[in-house]
Symmetry: C2
Amino acid sequence: MSEPPAGDRSAGDRRSRRRPRGEAATPLADKPFRHTRNPFAPIEPLSAEQLHQIDDASLRILEEIGIDFLDDEALDLWAAAGAEVDRATQHVRIDRALLRELVGRAPGSFVLRARNPARSLTLGGDAINFATVGGAPFYSDLEKGRRPGTLADFRQMVKLAQQCGPIHLVEGLLLEPQDVPVPVRHLEKALAQFTLSDKALTAAAHGRAVAADYVAMAAIVYGEAALAEGPVFASIVNANSPLRFDERMLGGLIGYARLGQATVITPFILAGAMSPVTLAAAIAQQNAEALAGIALTQLVRPGAPVVYGGFTTNIDMQTGSPAFGTPEGALALLCGGQLARHYGVPFRGSGGLNNAKSVDAQASYETQLSLWPAVMAHANLILHSAGWLEAGLVCSLEKFIIDVEGLAVMQRLLDGIVIDEETLALPFIAEVGPGGHHLGTAHTLARYRSEFYMPIVSDRQNYDKWREDGSHDAARRAHTVAGQLLAAYEPPPLDPAVAEALADFVARRKRELVKE
Amino acid sequence: MSEPPAGDRSAGDRRSRRRPRGEAATPLADKPFRHTRNPFAPIEPLSAEQLHQIDDASLRILEEIGIDFLDDEALDLWAAAGAEVDRATQHVRIDRALLRELVGRAPGSFVLRARNPARSLTLGGDAINFATVGGAPFYSDLEKGRRPGTLADFRQMVKLAQQCGPIHLVEGLLLEPQDVPVPVRHLEKALAQFTLSDKALTAAAHGRAVAADYVAMAAIVYGEAALAEGPVFASIVNANSPLRFDERMLGGLIGYARLGQATVITPFILAGAMSPVTLAAAIAQQNAEALAGIALTQLVRPGAPVVYGGFTTNIDMQTGSPAFGTPEGALALLCGGQLARHYGVPFRGSGGLNNAKSVDAQASYETQLSLWPAVMAHANLILHSAGWLEAGLVCSLEKFIIDVEGLAVMQRLLDGIVIDEETLALPFIAEVGPGGHHLGTAHTLARYRSEFYMPIVSDRQNYDKWREDGSHDAARRAHTVAGQLLAAYEPPPLDPAVAEALADFVARRKRELVKE
C-alpha cells in the first residue's frame, strides 16, 4: 500500500486541487479534503525528569499493583508471555522488561485505508487527522431541538462529515440511533458509513461478534486480499478505569488486532473519580492502562497497528459531573502526546470537548481548550473534533459546522507561511510607498480571492448590515450552512454489486441476531 | 527597584496567597492577581532561513524604500545619527548597521511599576501579562445594549479590571468616554485609572502634551524621584502603516521615551490594505516599521524600555472589513514573537480579537485564535485580552468576564504539573485497586476543594438542572458575574493627599485645555 501524501504546505497547490463531488457550490467549496500535518515543534510540559517519574510510576503500577483483564484469552496470552496471572481474580502483574519489549513491537506509524484511496490517512509522525464526535446518545439542532438520536440523524451526520473537507474520519459511534435495536445497531451504522461516505472510519470495539461483522463488511467493500494488507478501521478500546479492561472491550481489542485492524487504546479517566485527584497520578495511571492495552495488542499480533489514546480530564467537584475542555484536560493531552512519542507509538487526543448546553461562547472556548492542546500535542488522531456538545451527550448539528470552521482555520494555520521573492513583494511595497494603500495593486488583484482564509460561519460584516440580516448568531448561521451542505449532498461512487452485497449481509445478520 | 516574583508554579502556594481587598466572596475569589510565566517552548513557525529572509527584507525596506517620520525632532535625531533624511518629504532611509546598533541598545526585559508594588510586572523573558481591551468607541451589555461609551462605563470597566485577578494591566484607552470632550478625555481616564485601580497601566501616546499630563499625574502618585527609577506606563505607539509614523504618535514616543517611560511600538497592519496581501510581505513590513520605531526610542534615550508590538492581520476580501481572530493573524503573532526574540526585545501581542457582533460562539473561537498564538508566541504583553467585541468597536461587559475565564484557564494551564510522591499517589491507586473509585479516599478528600480549576462562567450542571435555572447561555451568566463583582468593588487604598492632588491637577489642566 502506498503512503498517502504527507500534507501540503503550498497554498497554490492547495487551491488548485480538484473538488470532489458534492463539495461544489457550498460554503465549504474552497475547503476540500486534504491531508494535514503539524510543522511546529510539539508543546511538551514534562521535563525529562518528570517524564521519567511518570514512566516509572506507571511501570510500578503494572508491576506492583497490577491490572484486570476480564477475558480468558487475554489471560492466556499474558500467562504465555510470562506475566504473573491470577486466574481467579483475572488480575495480571506485568514486569517492566516484558512490557517495554511488547510496546516496542508496535509500529510508530501506519496507514489507515479509506474507501477512497486518496483519503487514506497516515497515523503517526506529524500527521493530524480530525474525526467527528462519537457516542452521543442525543441529537440536537435548532429546528428539532434536543432528542434521542435516530438512524436518520446518524445518516445525516455521516453525509455532513463526508461533505466537510476538514473532517478526515467518521467515528463509527457518531451518535446512537436509539430507534434501532441494540443488537443490530452496529450493522445499520456500518452500512451508513460504508455507503454514504468514502472517508476512513473508526468501528465499535464492542466484543468479538461486532468486530467480526465490521470486518466482514469491510471484506465486501475492499476484498479479502486487500483487507489483509493493512487496517481499514481504527477502533476505540476504552479501559474501564481504574486498572481494568472489560470483556467487551477485550473482545474488540483481540478481534481487531488479530486481523491486523488498528485499535486505539484509550483509558477514559476522570481524575478524582477513576483515579486520584492529582493530575500526576491520573496521567501515570492513564499511561499504565494505555501501555498494558498496547502490549496486549502486540501479544495478539506482533506489529499490530495501535494508537496510544489519552482521554484524561477531571470531575467537577461542585456538581460531580465530568468536566470537559478544562485546563487539567489540556495538560493531560499535552503530556499524553509527549509520552506516546517517548514510546514511539501514534497518539490519539480529543478536540471538541465541552460541557455547554447550548451552542454558545462556552461551547466554543471549551472546545478550543481541547483542540489547541490536541494539535500542539501532535495528536495523530483527534476524536470528537466536530459536533460534541453537553459533555458528549449531544451531537449538535450547529456545533458540528462551527467546529468544522475551527478545524479549517487550524489547517490554514498549520500551512505556515510561504516566503519567497514573490510573496515578500518588495517592489509593491516600494510602488505604494509610505501612507498609501495596497488595495488596487497588481499583486493584490492577482491574489485577493484566494490569499486569505474564507470563513464558513464567521460574520465579518459591519453591525448595521448584521442587524439588517437578522442579527443571527453563529449557531443560527451554522444551521443555514448545514442545510446548504445537506441539500448539495451526493453519495460517493460505489459499485452497485458491493452496495447490494452489503445490504444483503446486513439483512442476513439482522435476521440472525434477532433470532439469537 | 526589585524584580517582581517570576511566576509561581506551585499550586499550594498559589491557593494560600492572601486575597486582596474586593476579591472576597465573588466568583473570582479563588483567582487572585498573580504573575504568570510561560514554561513551554515557544511555537516558532519560521525556519532559520525564513527568519533570515524576513529580517533581510525588512532591512532592505528601510535601506532602499525608507520610512516617513512626520516630526522634526525625530528627523533631527535620525540626521544626527547618520541616516539619510529628506527634510522636504520627511522621509528617512536607515542603513542596516545603524539600525541594528540602535535596536541592540534596547533592554531585553524591564519592570513596569504598578501603584501596588506587588502588582509590578516584568516585560520580557517568559513573563506573560494580560491587559484589557483598548480603544473601543462603543460599550455594550445585555441590559443597556450597544451605545457610545461614557465615562461611567470607563470607570465601571476599570473597577472590573481591578477585581479580576487574571488581568495584569488596565489599558489607558480601554473605551472612549464620548461624553467627555476630546481635549480633556485623557485626564478623566488617567484619574479613573489611578484612583480606581492599583494595577499597572498603559497610557495614551497621543502627542507630547498628553504624555506630559500622564507623566505629571504619575509624579503625583509615585513622586518625582521614584518616577525616574523606571517606567510606570507602557504606551502603545502605532505606526501609520505603510511606512509612516505620524506627528501625534511620534510626540508620544519621544515624550515618553525621553522620560524613561516604556513604549510599545506597534505597526497595525491589515494585509491587503496597509501592506501587500501576502503574509510574508505583511510581516516583513511590520518588522521594518517596528524596528524603525524601536531604533528611534534608542536615539531619544539609549536603553529606553521598549516593546516590539505585532498587530498584523488581514482585511476580509468579501466585505473589505478588518478581520480579527484569523489564522493569518495567528501566524503573524507567532512570527512576531519569534522576530522579537531574535532582536532581544520584549514582545506584545493581542489576545481577544474577533469580529462577532454578539457574545456568541464566534466571539469565543476567534478570541481563542488570538489568545493561544499570543501565549504560544511568548508575548510578554497581551493587549485586548478581555472585553473586545465587534472588531474592537465595542467593549462588552459580558465578553470581558468570559475572557477573564479564558485567561484564568490559561494561567492554570501554564502552571503545569506538580510531580512528586504525594501527587503520584501510588498508595491510593493500590488502595482503591481495579474497578473501584477514588471519590472518598483520604487523598481526594484532602484536595477536592482546591485541586481543580473552578470555573467562573462555565456551566457544568446537567441539562435538566440548567433548564430549571433558566437555560442561560454563557453571556447571560457572565452578566450575573459582572454584577456580583461590581457590587463587591472596593477601591484600593490611596493616600487622600495624593487623591486630592490628582483631582486638583485634573481640574486645573481641564480649565487650561478648555481655554486653549
